[in-house]
Assembly symmetry: C2
Homo-oligomer: 300 residues x 2
C-alpha cells in the first residue's frame, strides 16, 4: 500500500479535507495552492478515482473517505511515535495532533469537556470535536471523519471497538404554570396535545417517550425547535413547552421552583457507548480512559 | 401567479422540505406518500423546473427555494389572517405556524430564547430556530430557509429590512495557571504561540482578535475545536486554551476565580443585526419587537 499511496500525497489530501479549501491547506502545509492541486491530482491518478468534490468547502468522495481514513491513522501513529521519541521540541514547535471525536450535543454541553481537563498538560494533543445527534455519530465513524464517538449504538462499526459508558437520564419537565394548564386526566389524554420543545427534526426523544406513555401516540405537532442545549432548557423554563431535559440541568430548575416534574417517577434513560477505531494509539487510549472515568461519575 | 402555483401544491412542497421526506410530509398533510409525490411532480411540470433533489433528506433546488420562499410567505399571511379572524378553534385544533429564524450559537445559548417567553401565551405560533455562524445566517435568509435572522451583516438581503440589535461583548480569558504559563512579554510574542479554543473552523473571532493585537499574526495553530457554547466555556475553564468567551459567561468564571482576564482592558465587540423579510405579519412583528427589547437589555 505504501508504494501506491505516498505519504506526502495522502497527507495533502487530509489537509484539504480538514481545512476545507486548497488555499487553506496550502497555508497549513507551507506550499503553494498549485502544489496542493497537483498532489491531489497525482493521488487521483494513482488511485484511478475522484477523491474530492470541487465544492466550497471541498468534501471527500466515497473513495476519498477511504484515503482520509488511512491518512488519519497514519497521522495518529506518527504523532504517537514522535511523542514517544521525544521528537516534539517543546510546545512552540510541536506539530499538533488532532483527535477528531463525535459527541452528542447534550454530552458536549454537560459532562464531556470537563473530563478532558487533563489534556491541558499535553502540548501535542488537540481536540477536534464534532457535535452530532447520538443516533448519527456512527456515520461519522464509518466515513472516517472521526476516530471515536459517543453514540447511542452498541453495534460496533467495522474496525471499531465499543464500550458502554452509562446512561444519560432525562426528566420530563415544564414550568408549574404549563403543568397546571395542560396536565389533566391520564397521559394518553394530554401528552399528544401539549406543546413541546424539540432540539431539531432528528430529535425523537420526546416522541419516543410519548409513545411509551400513551400506547403509541407521538407528542403534539405543536412544537418549537431549539437546537442548543442551554437554549432548549431555557425554552422549557420560559414556558414554551414541555421537554426532556438532562437530569443535571433539570435539577437546577426543580430546586429553584422554575420547573416542575410533569410525570413524577417517569424518566428516560439513553444508554451511551464509546466507539473507537482499533488503533494502538497511546493518545486515543488516554482520552478513552478519561472519558470512561468521567462517564462513570456523571452517567448512570 | 395564483393560477400558476396552486396553494395546495405549494404547501405540499413546503411540507416535504420542512419534514425532509415524502413519507413525513404525507403524515403531516394527512394524505398518502403517493399523493405527495404526484403533487410535487405536478408543480414541477407547471414550473418546468426540478424543484427538489431526491435525496434523504430532500433539499430544494435553486428553483425550489423560490417556491419555498413564496410558500412560507403564504403560510405566514394565512396564519396571521386566521388568528385575526379567530378561526383557530383553541390550542388543540390550531394549525401551528412556524416562524423559522436563524440565530448565531452564542446568542442562542444566552439572551435569545428567554426573550421569547411571551410566545408561551400564543397557542398558534411556534419557533423553528436554526443555529448558524453569525457571518453565515444571511445565506439562510437569501435561500428562503428562514424568515428572519440574527446576523453580523448590516447589509440587507434583497427583500429584507435590517435593524441594529447591539453588540455582543467577548472577553479574552483563560485559567490563572494558563495565563501564568503562556503570558510573557508583549502580546505579539505569546499570542501567536499560546494554545486556544475555537468553536469550529468557521470561527475566526480569536484569529481576528490576535491579528489586531499583533499587527497581523493569527492565533496559534495549536487549537481545540469545541462546537458548543457551554462546551467552549468549559474547555477554557479546564485550561485547554485561551478563548473569547461571551461577557455573561466569562463574568461567572472571573468572579469565582476559575478564569482570569488575559489582556485587561481588551474586549471584542461583535455587532449584531436583525434582518427580516418585508412582510406585513403581526406574528413576525411581535417576535421582532420582543427580540429588540431583549437585545436592548442584554447587548451593548
Amino acid at each position: 500500500m505504501k508504494n501506491e499511496l505516498p505519504y506526502d500525497l495522502v497527507r495533502t489530501l487530509l489537509a484539504v479535507v480538514d481545512e476545507g479549501t486548497f488555499d487553506a491547506a496550502a497555508a497549513v502545509l507551507h506550499v503553494t495552492p498549485s502544489a496542493v492541486s497537483q498532489r491531489v491530482k497525482a493521488l487521483e491518478q494513482r488511485t484511478g478515482r475522484v477523491l474530492l468534490t470541487r465544492t466550497r468547502p471541498v468534501r471527500a468522495t466515497d473513495s476519498g473517505q477511504v484515503v482520509v481514513r488511512y491518512a488519519r491513522q497514519l497521522a495518529r501513529l506518527e504523532g504517537d511515535a514522535r511523542a514517544e521519541l521525544g521528537m516534539d521540541g517543546g510546545p512552540a514547535t510541536a506539530s499538533p495532533t488532532r483527535l477528531a471525536i463525535a459527541v452528542n450535543a447534550d454530552s458536549l454541553s454537560t459532562w464531556f469537556v470537563p473530563a478532558l481537563a487533563s489534556l491541558a498538560e499535553d502540548a501535542h494533543l488537540y481536540l477536534d470535536l464534532r457535535r452530532e445527534d447520538e443516533a448519527h455519530t456512527t456515520e461519522l465513524l464509518r466515513e472516517g471523519e472521526v476516530l471515536a464517538a459517543v453514540t447511542s449504538s452498541p453495534d460496533p462499526v467495522a474496525g471499531c471497538s465499543v464500550r458502554r459508558l452509562g446512561a444519560m437520564r432525562y426528566l420530563p419537565v415544564a414550568t408549574p404554570a404549563f403543568a397546571a394548564r395542560w396536565r389533566s386526566g391520564p397521559p394518553a389524554h394530554w401528552v399528544p396535545r401539549a406543546p413541546l420543545v424539540c432540539f431539531d427534526r432528528r430529535d425523537d426523544l420526546q416522541d419516543a417517550f410519548a409513545r411509551d406513555l400513551t400506547g403509541g401516540q407521538p407528542a403534539s405537532p405543536l412544537r418549537h425547535y431549539v437546537p442548543s442545549s442551554e437554549g432548549f432548557a431555557q425554552a422549557v423554563t420560559a414556558g414554551l413547552g414541555w421537554g426532556l431535559v438532562p437530569e443535571e440541568q433539570a435539577l437546577l430548575g426543580l430546586h429553584s421552583g422554575a420547573l416542575a416534574r410533569l410525570l413524577p417517577g417517569h424518566t428516560l434513560d439513553v444508554p451511551l457507548f464509546w466507539q473507537q477505531w482499533r488503533l494502538d494509539s497511546p493518545a486515543l487510549f488516554t482520552v478513552a480512559a478519561a472519558i470512561a472515568e468521567a462517564a462513570g461519575r456523571s452517567l448512570r
